[in-house]
């Protein structure tokens, strides 16, 4: 019998190992879920088979109450998410670079950031939805969620810049502006991407909570409707969709972040 000999230095072997570990882990998770729900014997916690049946039905036939397709819900959530994410990028990038670069400004704004940052982004949801409506409100909650990890990562990145790079550039004739564009900016790219990675995770947590306050929102609102209608299997199906979407976005971000850092020779 051929024995599969695992070799840590073989890329294929590492890949196969990851797949096997993941599959086994998920299988064990399903079993545990099953056992737990059977033991609990509670209407509110359906067994996995019921949840997957509901998920299957949801994808094929759409929402059992309103008749909307699941893709409509997902599209709304994704759109909200992208608005919040885009806004966070547009605001946090220049601001983070500026605050990282200009010490007095950083010192002056530090108290503001430290006061606002620890507030759970979700706490803003009722206020934002009330004041900005059910479209912009959730997007702004997502914005808050992504903004702070992104901002703090960028500020951190600018401060971590090797002073020798700046010195070398100055002796090569770089002006302040050139220092910024040719050194500070590229040197912080890995930190920006890391901030995006962390921010996206937080962003997904925010969106569901923010949508709970919506009239017709995305997947989060669907979740609440199902719970209110007592369709728990459908509610859990929504949770699975949310989890998969979250995994996909952070997975893509992680991949891009690693790839770019490596390409830039800065994956230390």
């Amino acid at each position: 019998m051929a024995v599969f000999k695992y070799d840590e230095n073989n890329r294929r072997h590492r890949f196969i190992r990851t797949i096997v570990v993941t599959v086994v882990s998920l299988a064990v998770f399903l079993v545990l879920w099953w056992v737990a729900t059977v033991l609990m014997n509670d209407q509110n916690f359906p067994t996995p088979d019921k949840v997957f049946a509901a998920l299957y039905d949801l994808i094929l036939n759409g929402d059992p109450i309103g008749g909307h397709s699941i893709w409509e819900y997902i599209a709304i959530s994704l759109k909200t998410f992208l608005y919040g994410f885009g806004l966070a990028l547009v605001v946090a990038d220049p601001l983070g670079l500026l605050l990282g670069y200009v010490k007095p400004l950083r010192e002056f704004t530090a108290p503001w950031i430290e006061v606002v940052r620890p507030i759970a982004p979700i706490a803003w949801a009722p206020i934002f939805v009330l004041s900005f409506g059910s479209r912009l409100g959730p997007a702004l909650v997502v914005f808050i969620g992504i903004f702070f990890p992104l901002l703090t990562n960028i500020i951190f990145g600018v401060q971590r810049i090797d002073k020798n790079w700046l010195d070398a550039s100055k002796t090569l004739g770089a002006s302040q502006g050139q220092l910024f564009y040719k050194v500070v900016l590229p040197a912080t790219v890995p930190y920006i991407l890391n901030g995006v990675k962390v921010g996206l995770g937080v962003g997904w947590m925010c969106i569901v909570a923010a949508e709970i306050y919506n009239k017709f929102g995305g997947i989060g609102q669907y979740l609440v409707d199902m719970v209110n209608g007592g369709l728990m299997a459908n509610a859990f199906a929504a949770i699975i969709i949310i989890a998969i979407l979250g995994l996909l976005t952070t997975g893509v971000a992680e991949y891009v972040s690693k790839l770019v850092s490596r390409r830039m020779g800065m994956d230390a």
Binding site: D162, W165, D167, A168, T171, L172, G173, K182, V189, G265
Partner: protein
Amino acid sequence: MSRSKLVVKGEKYDSSDRVRADRTDLLYSHIPEGETLVSIKDLNVTYRTDEKTTVAVDDFSFDIKKGELVSIVGPSGCGKSTILRCISGLLQPTSGEILIGGNKCTTAGSDRGMVFQDFALFPWRSVRKNVEFGLEIAGVPKEERQERSDRYLKAMGLSEFADSRIHELSGGMKQRVGIARAMIMHPAVILMDEPFGALDAQTRNILQESLVNVLKTSSRTIVFVTHSVDEALFLSDRVLVLSKRPATIHTVIDVPGERPRDRASPEFTKLRREILSYLESQNTL
């Protein structure tokens, strides 16, 4: 001297008035080789921290001649790096001044190139892009950049690594990039702070020889800080031996003989012994 006013007229590179931050040596083409190019005048540097004040350099004066390679050796912590950083303009002296061709230097600029012990290369740029950094900053057109970087990559034995990433290079190769990046700018003076200090002995020797080779075809003014007496004697026209902190000039040695030198010659050995015994007497450890 203000950075933005580096205008060179009527050189072969240009017919019009143009900022030539990439050829600052041309600013001093009127000064003959062997005449004073860089003057360090009454330099004082005091570092103040919360715990203590350190007088790193105290009334230090020295003239560097055009076209020479002068080494600075001295006990560790005597103020060598401080002096070099003052010349580069990266550090403002507490008092005193640095003159290049009679012009006072206040801030860092491309007329004083620098080679760093830990290379200070940009990892997000290829080898070629690192070498071209200063030219890019100076706004040199792409074709000229390429042509010039080709020349320096070749001179430093880096041609086949032009498109490599910095992290793919060995330490010795990295410092070749560092040297090419400084040299390509034709600064009035190149400052090297223990450039081979992070390399093993064998790589060190090879790089010393490479430097000697490059200097044969292209005359440069270089200030070279090292803790290796051997290296100083092998490379330099003059060796400046400093006392312990705050540095005073113990001796200035005119090293005899043309480069490349024989490291085993009796003269070489005698000088090395003299300097080493002095440095040992200054060692406070």
